[in-house]
């Protein structure tokens, strides 16, 4: 096969479309599951932002033996998970808090991990994961491994001290790390202008002495290209890098947020910049895929999600007593004596 654009062949170009479709299908499936009462806790959409995670993840070295690049996603970057080998069913298990989920029901939604496959789930406190990824990539640098790390965060997270301390540490230590700023123009109900006075996050790059560029986050090929170029530079010792993705959060912060603080006209305008639609047209227009191929991808990803979700539904929740395991690697956590059959606390 031959390269069509950006080093990608037909299969690769269609892979990207598959990933976009899978992301959207998985989230739409989740909404259905939530209506049916299968989802524990909040539900978050990446509608309109799918191309960011997909394009970026696709540009990295994805391996499953713990020797590839590392990626830390966010709630709006679920697509990256699947590209890094995260199983669809695990995605649903996580949202359903099943005992079979990667975190055995201890943690929510996309907060899961597979260091062999190379992905790192975030914790909730914003900013932290930049510190973590700085350390992961520091280890690559000091050991002379040619691996890199990429960490996603929203625009709002940039206000945190952790964001600053982590990014500055990485910059000074020349950690092979790329920070992706998912600038979707909102942090919950707060517009970006109330989190920062800059109009583009690229203005923050020079303050850390690192390169920064902005990309249209609805254009999966543009994202892929930008991250690919940055990865090349970072991998060859170029130090830390920042890429801002520009797009819009087309749903509320979470399912429970009607987003009535956003002008509906603006949302409608952004619907025209739907990353799936845009890329679909491009694939057809350039004849990188046929209508049939695309329909097949759409149907397959829909079906994969349906099947995975059904399977996850059938699985058990964890046993309550599981709650005590694994706090330490060695020290056991006691069960409450009031749950034991013994009436005596001293025997617990």
């Amino acid at each position: 096969m031959s390269e069509l654009t950006l080093g990608l062949e037909r299969a690769g170009l269609q892979d990207l479309y598959r990933s976009l479709c899978l992301t959207r299908a998985a989230e739409e499936r989740l909404e259905l599951l939530q209506k049916q009462g299968h989802v524990t806790g909040g539900l978050y959409r990446s509608l309109g932002q799918e191309a960011g995670a997909v394009g970026a993840a696709y540009a990295l070295r994805r391996r499953t033996d713990g020797t590839g690049d590392m990626l830390c996603h966010t709630i709006r970057a679920a697509g990256a998970l699947f590209l890094f080998g995260g199983e669809l069913i695990d995605y649903f298990r996580q949202y359903m808090a099943k005992g079979t989920s990667p975190t055995r029901g201890r943690e929510a939604n996309v907060h899961w991990f597979d260091f062999q496959k190379g992905f790192v789930g975030p914790v909730s406190p914003l900013g932290t994961m930049i510190e973590i990824m700085a350390g992961m990539t520091l280890s690559f640098r000091v050991r002379g491994e040619d691996r890199i790390g990429i960490v996603f965060y929203g625009d709002g997270a940039s206000s945190t001290g952790a964001w600053h301390e982590g990014l500055n540490f990485a910059a000074v230590q020349r950690c092979p790390m790329i920070l992706i700023v998912e600038n979707n123009q909102w942090a919950f109900s707060t517009p970006t202008s109330k989190n920062t006075r800059v109009s583009s996050f690229t203005e923050k790059g020079p303050g850390y002495g690192i390169d920064a560029e902005a990309v249209d986050g609805t254009d999966v090929l543009a994202v892929f290209d930008a991250v690919r170029r940055a990865a090349l530079q970072v991998r060859s010792g170029g130090g830390t890098h920042m890429i801002e993705l520009n797009y819009f959060r087309r749903k509320g912060h979470a399912q429970h947020d009607p987003q009535d603080y956003v002008d509906p006209a603006v949302i409608r305008a952004w619907e025209k910049k739907d990353p799936l639609d845009l890329y679909r047209s491009k694939l057809l227009h350039n004849e990188w895929a046929s209508e049939d191929e695309l329909v097949a991808i759409e149907e397959e990803t829909f079906e994969e999600c349906r099947v995975a979700a059904e399977a996850a539904i059938a699985e058990p929740y964890p046993e309550g007593t599981e709650a005590v395991t694994g706090v330490y690697t060695d020290v056991p956590t006691p069960h409450p004596w009031t749950r034991s059959s013994s009436p005596d606390p001293t025997l617990a």
Binding site: A97, T103, G161, T190, A323, P336
Partner: protein, 341 residues
């Protein structure tokens, strides 16, 4: 022309019952009316009215200078609150989920708590927000934060269990010249059983005074927050089924601790059970135990016991969280053990 008071903040005026959440909103609203120097800061508290809608419609009523949507920077805006407090304002800071108070740990413990002692003057500010488990919030939306601050001299910590106390204690906190951490259990926010008609007057509930929820003679349960209600359930069962009389002390304020109320109750019942939702090791039960040991050892007819969450992060999945949290039957079992001792 002044804007009109939003309807939903007039329930007490109209003699209608309010939830704990509404009681908190009323307290904030009335204090902001009473004292121009009171203002609010926090994430999404403006147009959105806060993640739990505690400050719904406040922005349009009070304007942008008194209801400030902040960047996501708990340390930064809590520190800014401290600075504003130095200049004569009385900030009330909302932490969206109290779990996210941790980035402000440094400024709270090192700057704010020590300010008066260092000669920089009092720090009249309140840091408030939702705490507690049972909501399937997972490790970062379910924490109780009292023990992060209980060991810091200079702070006060308040944790109400009823709508009435929440309103009265929040007013007292706002008027206090010392920094107050104010914990609101999100499981109680809208609990229908907690709806009550509040006095239509400007009342405060003093900080530092526990409340005897029910009197009893056989055993004392010291507790606070959501566990007050589980303890009452257990006490009722004990009364009905065992003929045992349980006294319940609701601490309401954790720091300073109302040692006198605890000791007095223990001197009457001679048995003490501490119940807290927070995890076990290093929980407040320890401090209560040693205070009672110091002050009422001779009165104890049995071990001081405790019912608490287990020593783990708060797990997400229902069965795990239910097992993690102390339940009514745990209280019952421990209280029965102690009563029979």
């Amino acid at each position: 022309m002044d804007p009109e008071t939003p309807e939903h903040l007039l329930k007490t005026k109209r003699g209608e019952p309010v939830t704990m959440l509404e009681a908190i909103s009323e307290a904030l609203f009335e204090e902001m009316i009473r004292d121009e120097s009171v203002f609010l800061m926090g994430e999404d508290i403006g147009v959105y009215g806060g993640a739990f809608k505690v400050t719904r419609d406040f922005l349009s009523f009070f304007g942008e200078n008194r209801v400030i949507d902040t960047p996501i920077a708990e340390g930064g805006f809590t520190g800014a609150a401290a600075g504003a407090a130095h200049m004569g304002l009385r900030p009330v800071v909302e932490i969206q989920f109290m779990d996210f108070i941790s980035p402000a740990y440094d400024v709270i413990t090192n700057y704010i708590a020590t300010s008066n002692y260092r000669g920089a003057g009092p720090q009249p500010l309140v840091i408030r927000g939702p705490v507690g488990g049972g909501n399937r919030g997972g490790p970062f939306h379910s924490q109780n934060v009292e023990m992060a601050f209980f060991h810091t001299p200079g702070l006060k910590i308040v944790y109400p269990s009823t709508a009435r106390d929440a309103k009265g204690l929040l007013k007292a906190s706002i008027r206090d010249d010392n920094p107050v951490i104010f914990e609101e259990h999100k499981g109680l926010y809208r609990a229908p059983s907690l709806r009550e008609v509040l006095p239509d007057e400007d009342y405060v509930v003093p900080i530092g005074e526990a409340r005897i929820v029910r009197e009893g003679t056989d055993i004392t349960i010291v507790t606070y927050g959501a566990m007050v209600h589980k303890s009452v359930e257990a006490a009722q069962t004990m009364e009905n089924e065992d003929g045992v009389s349980v006294e319940i002390v609701d601490l309401r304020t954790l720091l300073p601790l109302d040692e006198d109320a605890i000791v007095e109750s223990v001197k009457k019942t001679n048995k003490l059970l501490v119940v807290h939702e927070d995890t076990r090791t290093g929980g407040i039960a320890g401090e209560i135990a040693i205070r009672v040991s110091e002050k009422a050892f001779e009165w104890l007819d049995g071990p001081i016991l405790r019912v608490t969450a287990i020593d783990a992060p708060v797990p997400y999945s229902g069965p795990l969280e239910d097992y993690f949290l102390p339940q009514t039957e745990d209280v019952l079992k421990a209280a029965r053990y102690l009563a029979a001792y």
